[in-house]
């Protein structure tokens, strides 16, 4: 794969139409907006190596309730912007004065970004079968820039990982990951995910992770 470390302002291409994410066009030429890895495909994308999560519509995220107002739960989603979970987005009809019975301050939840408006008001929803309060398992945090690598092309990495470590895993686009399974399996899953995070910018990662898992499991039995 053709990749290269670039810094903001680097010239990437002379063809304006190849401008992808993390780039901008000036005078018909494509430049990098970010410090990151430039990916040369049909379009040139620059993948950042750091940065804060900015919510986008349709993202699955893991949030922690930090306040309760009259009809909203205010949810920390590991971003400069707080999420708002309206009472009507709870799967069941509940009364305003009963809100803290269902989701208390400190509760972790798997949720989805329903809408983001231009002033960055973030609306969340729980109306989906796979969403809801987290009762068991563990939540870990990685940089959100590494999430695409953890999921892999078409979900290849994450489905391999789920099968190999025998755990349920929910990946939030905000870099929070929920893992549920046997204690030892969870340990292995966490170690593997942290390894993926550390080496996300390297080539041939999936193969190396497969080897790593094989070895770890061999050592256990």
């Amino acid at each position: 794969m053709d990749r290269k470390v670039v810094v903001p302002g680097d010239l990437l291409s002379e063809e304006a139409k190849r401008s992808g994410e993390g780039t901008f066009v000036k005078d018909g030429k494509v430049y990098s907006l970010l410090y990151g890895l430039a990916n040369y495909r049909d379009r040139i994308n620059v993948i950042p190596l750091a940065g804060k999560y900015v919510p986008a519509q349709g993202d699955n995220v893991i949030g922690i309730v930090k306040d309760i107002t009259f009809s909203n739960w205010i949810v920390d989603i590991n971003s400069p912007y707080d999420g708002l979970l309206h009472i009507s987005e709870f799967p069941k009809r509940i009364e305003s004065d009963e809100m803290s019975k269902y989701l208390r301050i400190g509760s972790s939840l798997m949720t989805k970004v329903k809408d983001v408006d231009p002033t960055m008001k973030v609306e969340l929803t729980l109306n989906d079968r796979k969403l809801g309060l987290i009762k068991t398992g563990r939540v870990i945090e990685i940089s959100h820039t590494r999430v695409p690598r953890l999921i892999g092309k078409g979900g290849s990495m994450i489905s391999m990982l789920k099968k190999e470590v025998n755990c349920s895993i929910f990946v939030g686009q905000n870099g929070r990951i929920w893992i549920n399974g046997g204690a030892e399996d969870m340990d292995l899953a966490i170690r593997t995910i942290l390894l993926i995070e550390k080496e996300a910018h390297t080539n041939g990662l999936t193969d190396r992770i497969v080897d790593f898992l094989k070895k770890e499991k061999g050592a256990r039995s």
């Binding site: 470390v5 810094v7 903001p8 302002g9 993390g22 901008f24 000036k26 430049y31 907006l33 970010l34 410090y35 990151g36 890895l37 950042p48 190596l49 750091a50 940065g51 804060k52 900015v54 400069p80 912007y81 707080d82 231009p118 002033t119 960055m120 820039t145 170690r191 390894l195 550390k198 080496e199 910018h201 390297t202 190396r208 080897d211 790593f212 070895k215 770890e216 050592a219």
Partner: protein, 248 residues
């Protein structure tokens, strides 16, 4: 700017052995602070400066918040031990001004519209001063901003030119700054768009042109160092195959 009895040149070399158009040695390290979102440590000659970037994050106090864009806050601060005579700690007239001009040197390249209602905080701490701390601070801050993953149209590099003994010099050091005739710090993008220019002392129009040219050349050299520093952070991790085995 009185005439002093210091001789600035000896056989065409400056007090520290440099030629007139030569920079002091620059050392740069990126990602030195674990708690900050982005950071950079820089040494430019006798200057030692550390820059930390936080954000984009929520704005406090709330009334400073802008609905359509992120605000940028820049704090330039000198440690009390950074100069020969102990400096009274805390902000003063000089550091307010430097914070303002440095912020305005960096803001034009930051895409603040990507992060409405948020703030990008830049903290620059001068640990040791030896003339040219604002330029060192801007250089470090630009690298720290890139390290924090903040989208920018380009990098910013800064450098000063000065005049001593009726001769133009690049990157004046302390003696040249204190007893020289002029000091002209500039900051610019690698394409030569100037975002900061200040002048202390006096230059003729001709000298001014030459001095700006000289300082711009210095900025381009510094840009190469900034770039190299950032690129190296990730290329040294390119093939960490042995680390996989070390996890057993």
């Amino acid at each position: 700017m009185d005439e002093t009895d210091i001789t600035f040149f000896k056989d065409g070399f400056r007090l520290d052995g440099r030629r007139a158009e030569e920079l002091r040695p620059v050392k740069m390290e990126v990602g030195v602070l674990a708690r900050a979102d982005g950071s950079c440590y820089i040494e430019m000659g006798g200057n030692k400066v550390i820059a930390a970037v936080y954000g984009p994050r929520e704005v406090h106090p709330r009334h400073l918040q802008e609905v359509t864009r992120a605000i940028v806050r820049y704090r330039y601060n000198m440690a009390s031990f950074s100069v020969e005579e102990r400096k009274r700690p805390g902000p003063d007239r000089r550091s307010y001004e430097l914070s303002k001009v440095s912020r305005e040197a960096l803001e034009p390249v930051i895409l603040t519209s990507y992060f409405p209602r948020s703030v990008i905080d830049v903290f620059v701490e001068v640990l040791q001063a030896d003339a040219g701390t604002r330029t060192a601070g801007i250089n470090a801050a630009a690298v720290a901003l890139a390290d924090a993953g903040i989208p920018m149209k380009s990098m910013i590099s800064a450098c000063a030119a000065g005049k001593v003994d009726d001769t133009l010099v690049l990157d004046p050091m302390k003696e040249e700054d204190n007893f020289g005739q002029a000091d002209l710090p500039i900051a610019m993008t690698p394409n030569g768009e100037i975002t900061l220019i200040q002048m202390d002392g006096g230059l003729t129009p001709d000298e001014l042109h030459q001095a700006v040219e000289m300082a711009m050349k210095g900025c381009r050299d510094i840009y190469e160092i900034q770039r190299k520093c950032l690129v190296e952070k990730y290329s040294q991790l390119e093939a960490p195959a042995e680390e996989v085995h070390a996890c057993e």
